[in-house]
Symmetry: C2
Subunit: 291 residues, 2 copies
Amino acid sequence: MSIYVNNPHLDSMKDDILYHFNLGTSTHDLPAMFGDVKFVCVGGSPWRMKSFTEYIAKELGLLEPNAEFPNICEGTDRYAMYKVGPVLSVSHGMGIPSTLIKLLYHAHCTDVTVVRIGTSGGIGLKPGIVVVTKQSVDSVFQPRLEQVILGKPVVRSTELDAELAEELLQSGKDLAEFETVIGNTMCTLDFYEGQARLDGAFCSYSEEDKQSYLAEAYAAGVRNIEMESSVFAAMCKLSNLRAAVVCVTLLDRLKGDQLTSSHDILNSYQQRPQVLVGHYIKKKLNAYKKS
Amino acid sequence: MSIYVNNPHLDSMKDDILYHFNLGTSTHDLPAMFGDVKFVCVGGSPWRMKSFTEYIAKELGLLEPNAEFPNICEGTDRYAMYKVGPVLSVSHGMGIPSTLIKLLYHAHCTDVTVVRIGTSGGIGLKPGIVVVTKQSVDSVFQPRLEQVILGKPVVRSTELDAELAEELLQSGKDLAEFETVIGNTMCTLDFYEGQARLDGAFCSYSEEDKQSYLAEAYAAGVRNIEMESSVFAAMCKLSNLRAAVVCVTLLDRLKGDQLTSSHDILNSYQQRPQVLVGHYIKKKLNAYKKS
C-alpha cells in the first residue's frame, strides 16, 4: 500500500525542501534514510519522542550498547525526529502531518502505520485510562475537519482505520497493565473555552452549561478531548495511511478542569500510550517474521 | 492599566495551577516572581526566546558576568520562559495566550505590553523585511477570529494597538539596519493549503489560482502570512493588554513556496524582530527613567 500524495505540482519540482525537518530531496537520500519505515509515532513532546525511541529499541532488541539516538531534525528546536529500525518517532507541530506525508512519499515507504500518542482530558473516565480513538470528532461531535483553502471552506473526513483501532485495543487488553477503552475523541482549537473549561482567562458560561455540554459529548460517544487528532486523521486519510490515535486521560473533566495529580503520576500516565503502541509494534513485527 | 480577566469562576478557586508553565498560585509567589513585568515577548522557538533574553539583558545593561537564565517552566519541554528585569520571554503553543494572561493577572502586573515576534511568508516583499502588523486578518481578510464555545461559533475582534504598531515601526526606522513596513497579517490554520502553497502533500488548485488569491490578499493590505497572530491578538484585546505582532518575512510568496535561503541567512533574518523589539523596549525604559 503506497502513500498517496495528491499534488500534481510535486513532480515538477526539482527539489523539495522539507523545511520543518531540515531535510530535502536533493540534500538527503530519503529512500535510504527512511525507505524501511513501517511505523510512525507522532507525539507532542520532543523529549517524550526520544524516550519512546529508547523504549522501543529495547523492546525490539535493537538497543546496542552505548547507542545514541541523534535528532534527525537537528538544527531546528521546534521539532524532533528519531529512528530505530522500522520505527520513526516525530514530535508534532505546525505543518507536520503534511510534511511527514511528503517525507514518506519521497522515501518510497510502503505499508506504513501512523499512530499519534498523546495526552487528553477524559469524560467520565478515571485518570490514567488509555483511549483508542474510534472517530475524531469536532465540537458538534461530527467526524469532520473544516479547512479553509483559498478563502473557501472545505470539509474533510477524519475517519480512522477501524481494524487498527481494534488491534490497538486488543494490545491494551493483552498488556493488562492499565485500562484501555475505545471511544470518540473530540478535537478542539482551544484548551480552555473550546473544551468547556471553567478556569481559563475568559469564561462566559456556568458549571451547569459545562456539564450539560460534556454530557452531550458523552452521549455522542466522546470519551476524551485533545487538540491534534482531526488534522492528523484527515491528512492520513487523504494519503491512504493506516492511522490511529492513542491518548491517555490526565483527568476526568466531569470532576474538574485542573491537573491536580503529581508530576510523577502524570509522567507515569504519559508512558502508557507508548507502552501500548510498543506492544503492538512488537507483536506485528513478530508476526511478519513468522510469516 | 490592569489586566482584565473575565471569568467569575477564577475568584472562587483556592488554587490555580498553570499546568503549561509548571507554576501555580499556591506553589509559587507569582506577584514576587512576575509583578514587575512590563514587556512580554512571545515567540515560536524555546531556543530563540532564550537568545532573546540574553540579547535584551545585554541591551539593558542587566547582563551580569556568568549570568545564566534558567527556564522558569523547567519540568516541561513544550514551553520555555525566561525573565530579565521587566522583560519576560515565553515560547508559545497550545493554550499559551490564555495561560499567560492568567499569570500576569495573578502576578498583579500593570501596564504590560505584549509583542509576538516570529517568522512569516511575505507577499510582494523582499525576504528579510520586517512587518509590523496593523491588523491580524483571517483567510477572507477580516480582522476577526471565530472560536467555538460549547459547540457554538463566537466571533472575536483581532484588533491590535495602533499606537504601539506605529511606535514599533518608528523603532525599525530609527535602527535603519533593515527595512520595516506596516501591513496586515493573514493568520491561517494550515501551512500549506491554508496559505495557497503549491508544495504540500495535497494541492487542488493551480499556480494562477494561488497568484490570484495572494493578489486579493495584497489588495486587502496583507503583507505577510503566519499562524499565531489571531488567537494572540484576540486574547490580548479581551484582556486589555497592549499588543503587537512583529514578524520577519523569510520568502516572497509571490515568487515561490519553498525556503531556499541558506540556514545562516534565515537565522540572521530571524534576529531582526528581536533587535527591533529590543530597541523599542530600551527606548521605552529610558523614557520612563527620565520622566
